[in-house]
Amino acid sequence: MRDVAVVSFSYSTVAKEQMRNEVEMLAPVITEAIDASGIARSDIGFTCSGSFDYLQGGPFSFVMGLDAVGAWPPIRESHVEMDGAWALYEAWIALQTGEVDSALVYGFGKASQGNVHEIMSLQLDPYYVAPLWPSMVDLAALQARAYLDASGRSERDLAGVVAQAMRSARDTPQAIRSGEPSIEDLLASPYVASPLRDADIFPTTDGVAVIVLAAGDLARSVNKRPAWIRGLDHRIEPHSLGARDLTRSDSTALAAKHAGVASGPIDVAEVHAQFSHEVLILSEALGVDPSIVNPSGGPLAANGIMSAGLVRIGEVARRIMDGTANRGVAHATSGPALQQNLVCVLEGE
């Protein structure tokens, strides 16, 4: 495969953005990422974004988003109705064909404008499940209990995951939540959907994230230490929760195998765990120790819908580019209860 690297990454998050629309949120972050990449806007070879019409409650969210890019003269451009991590996958493919040497990737969404927990019900089997309106939190809680029952772990372990995430998030400017909660305080708080409590569930977040990719010599010429993509793979599982083993993430494990996670030591992992139990399930699937997972605090600290998966890749890349890590793994998810998962291995040179 062709050598492709992350050469710049920017993102922003806010709990509820009432002043700016999506274009106004995106434009400065795109400009910041392009400026930091060392590649001129007009030299970017390919542009790909991820967004979700149901977050804005109307069709064609990506059409408006393009106003933030400066698509003139006309550009090579595409869009996935998926997290920006999959937009990065499509861009990586475009770079692999050799037809372009650089790509701009972004994901964006304002989850605070609607009830994102409820909106995600519309992802479910339209005949058998969606009419019952289980929210994404309800479904996560079903998975959490199945996992706790099977693993012998307890709600105290989930609180431990939350406490670690909150402590880590203190150093992340984009964190919506951070702090030093005690396990006892966490366990004393009420359930939102038993066995999950508020702190086990991602905070509603409006966010945008932008990554610039470059291939080979271009990456080396614009960045002292690019974060090279050494493996990138994604896999989906059957849709129905009742037809899957909810206590594990087979598709993550499969993607990790194809991405070559185990072929070297992992210094850092960022996983798109929107619920505390998912940190444990995903760590097991990736074969990494939970203590090195989500040094940014992860999605429990800030979870821009449609950008948080891309942020995981960016957070790992950032640590490689600044030399604090040498080899890391990033993960993104889509669909109810971890139905679809992407794994990206990044490495410094």
């Binding site: 409650g57 393009l66 058998y128």
Partner: protein
Amino acid sequence: MTEPLVARHSLEYPGGYTRSVGEVVGRYLTGLRDGRIEGARLADGRVLVPPTEYDPLTSAAVSVDDFVEVGPAGTVVTWSWVANPRAEKHALDRPFAFALIRPDGADTSMLHMVDVSTPEEMSTGMRVIPHWRSDRIGGVSDIEAWRPYKDGDPIPEVPPLPFSENMGDSVTGIVTSGRLDYEIAAGESTTRFLLGLAEGKIIGGKAVGSDDVYAASRGTDPTTGAPTSISVDVSDTGVITTFCIVNIPGLSDLAPEIPYVSAQVLLDGANNTFFGLIRGCSVDEVRMGMRVKAKWLEKLTADHGSIEWWEPTGEPDAEYADYKDYL
């Protein structure tokens, strides 16, 4: 900084989506209407409930010939508690549990609700039995919810449906509805534009380093992505660049009586066109190049509706050369 404009928005397809379901889903829903839970036996011998149209693992087509009855009792595989049911969405108006339930004789589980008063009554592995509605229509809510069941107790009767002419017919479709509610923020540029309308002014925006004025801007000059940070007053007069005459009634709540003209108007002092209705003359008199002026609403508000329509000024038409680059 001005207060942001925020508005409520609802998304709901009027009347609900009409879903045709095909043979396999139709057979399952027909069974529910008739008070029966069925699964499908897969090639590997497992019984799939609910019977989706395709084997989740192999993707082989599931056949109605392989349907087998399961349950009615079942076992809770996992569950979560819903303390605050949502009106208009959830079938129960009291707290309940969502659960994955494996009916007896099935190898997979189905998502449904368990009707108990408190989460203390729920446990993984508990036995449950469906409580059927008496007004079943062929949908997953024909089971109102599942209730705790003690093995050996009599199986509750399925209440008979009232007689209807099509009671023997197979279910071929369902209707699914549901409203999603939003609060949408206008954004800085649109707020500036709309607050201008409330004062009878059209405020455009342009980016540093460009002469192109956008009314209304969505925040950037789309050719560069640069913010339209400079406000520019734009005239409320302009030129019809092109138009159509609409002869279909009722295309939107805002549509006037037919025939009417929908046009693209290039404002004096702006560099993009926008859509407006043309009135104040017969539709046959409207032409490309015609000069028009905004007809403002008596009571101005921060809304596009503040300009009711555009009407001819009576000035000589613009030359084609003056607006041909805006088509």
